[in-house]
Symmetry: C2
Amino acid sequence: MDVKKRMREYADEINAAMDRYLPEAAGPQKSVIEAMRYSALAGSKRIRPMLMLEFARICGADCEAVMPVACAEEMIHTYSLIHDDLPCMDNDDMRRGKPSCHVKFGEATALLAGDALLSLAFETALCDNIHAIKPVNLINAVQLLAEASGYSGMVGGQIMDLESEGRKTNIDTLESMHRKKTGAMIVAAAKMGCILADAPKAKVDAAGVFAANIGLAFQIVDDCLDVAGSSVSLGKPVGSDAENNKSTYVTFYGLEKSKDLAKQLTSEAVKSLSVFDDREFLSGLAGFLCSRDR
Amino acid sequence: MDVKKRMREYADEINAAMDRYLPEAAGPQKSVIEAMRYSALAGSKRIRPMLMLEFARICGADCEAVMPVACAEEMIHTYSLIHDDLPCMDNDDMRRGKPSCHVKFGEATALLAGDALLSLAFETALCDNIHAIKPVNLINAVQLLAEASGYSGMVGGQIMDLESEGRKTNIDTLESMHRKKTGAMIVAAAKMGCILADAPKAKVDAAGVFAANIGLAFQIVDDCLDVAGSSVSLGKPVGSDAENNKSTYVTFYGLEKSKDLAKQLTSEAVKSLSVFDDREFLSGLAGFLCSRDR
C-alpha cells in the first residue's frame, strides 16, 4: 500500500469537509469567521481526523457519517494552536509557515476565533449524522472528545507545560505532560472512531493503546528533529529547544536512545493492532510518522 | 408565590451542583482548576440554568436529570466572562466585586481556565443523564447550546461589540448585538429546558419568544441602571457607559422611553407563556428582572 498516497487522499477529503463545515465569511461576524477559516484551513497533516476515520472504517462504519465528528476533532486541534500562539502563552509569530492568527487578525479576534472553533466543533459533531450513528454512541464519543480537550487532557498538559518553563523537570513529568497535551486528543480520535462504529470494548481499548504509543513516539521524533533535522524541511529553525533551555527526550536520553525509544513505541503500537483485520494503513502510518524528517 | 425565595432555592441547588461537577483542585492541573472554580463559583444569579430547569419542570421533566445540562450552560457563561475580562478584550480588573480571573491567576491561566470550562461544559452536559433523557433530545439540546455559544451567537455578539467601539452605531445594530451576545444563550437555555423534557415544538418556540424578550429587557434595564442606579446597589460606578462614550438604549431613546420599552418587552414575554399551564414563577421572574435595582 502507498501510505503517503492514502494519507493525501484522506487529507483532501478532510480539507473539503472542513471547508463545508466552516461558515462562510460574511455578515456582521465576518472578521472572526475569516480568522477561523484562516487557521482551520492552513496546511495541517490532518493526522487526528484521519485516525478517527480509519478506525471507524476498519470497524465497519460509514466514513461519511463519521466525518462531522472527525472535523470537530480537527477544529479543536486548530483552536488549541491559535490560543497556544497568543502573546500570553507561547507568543509565537509564525505557524505552519504563515503569520499566526493573532499576528494576522489581532489578539481579540484570534482569542474569539479560537473560542468559536471550540463551540463549532461540538455544534458540528452533534449535527445531522444521528441517522447513521447510534445516538448513544455519538453521545459517548463526543463526551470523550470534550474530556480529552479539557482540564484532564489537552488543557491540563498545556498548564503543565507552562508551569515547567524555566524549572528542572524529570522524565516522568515530561512524559505525563506530552500524554495530556498532545496524546489525549490523539487517543480520543482513535477510540472515537471505534465507538462511532459500534465496535466492542476490546477494539476501543486497542485503538487507545495504538494511539497513545504513536502519540508519544511522534513527540519524541519532534524532539530528535529539533536537534538533528534540517531547518529547510522543518520550516522552522532547528535547535530552538536547546536555545529555550527546554527539557526534551533528547536532553534526557541523548539522540540515539531517543530514536530507539520512538521505534520501540511504534512497534508496540503496531502490535496492538492485532485485534483488527484490516491494519495495513495504520501500520504504515505509524512507521511513516516514526521515520519522518519533518 | 415568593419569587425571590424560589430564585434563591434554585440558585442554591445550582451552586451545589456546580461544586459537584467542577473537578477538585488537586494534581498537576491544580492551578487551572483553582481558576475555574474561582470564577464558576463566584456569586452569579444563575438566571440561565434557572430558566432551563424551570422550563424543564413545567414541561414535566425530572429536574435532577436536567441539572448537568443546566450547569453546562452556566459554565459557558462563566468562561465567556473570563475571556471578556482579559486585557486584549475589555481589560476589566474586577468582576462581581472580586479581582477578575486573570488579575488573580495571571493571563495564561485565565485563558486556559476559560477554555477548560467550555470543554467541561460539553463533558458535563453529555454525562450520566442519558437514562432519564431521550438520547436524541440530549443531542439536539446540546447542539443548540454549542450553536448559541459560537460564531452565530454569543461569540458573534462579542465581535460585533468589539468592532462597534468608538464607532457610531444605530439602534438595529445595537439590538442585533445584544440578541447575539447575551440573548442567544438565554434563548437556548429556555428552549433546551423544553427539548430535554420532550415538549412539543409549540412550547419550545414559546419558550424562545419568552427568553428573547426578557433577555433584551434585561439589557435595557442594565443601560437604565447605568445612568439612574445607585453605585452602592450596583457594586460598580454608575455612568460608566457615558464615560466610555458607549451607545446604549438610553443614549438612543432616553431614560423614560427605555424603561417603557423594557416593560413592554416583559409584558410580551409573559403573554408568550400562555401555552404553559404552570407559569407563575416565570411570570414573576420576568417582572422581577424588569423592576430590579441592580
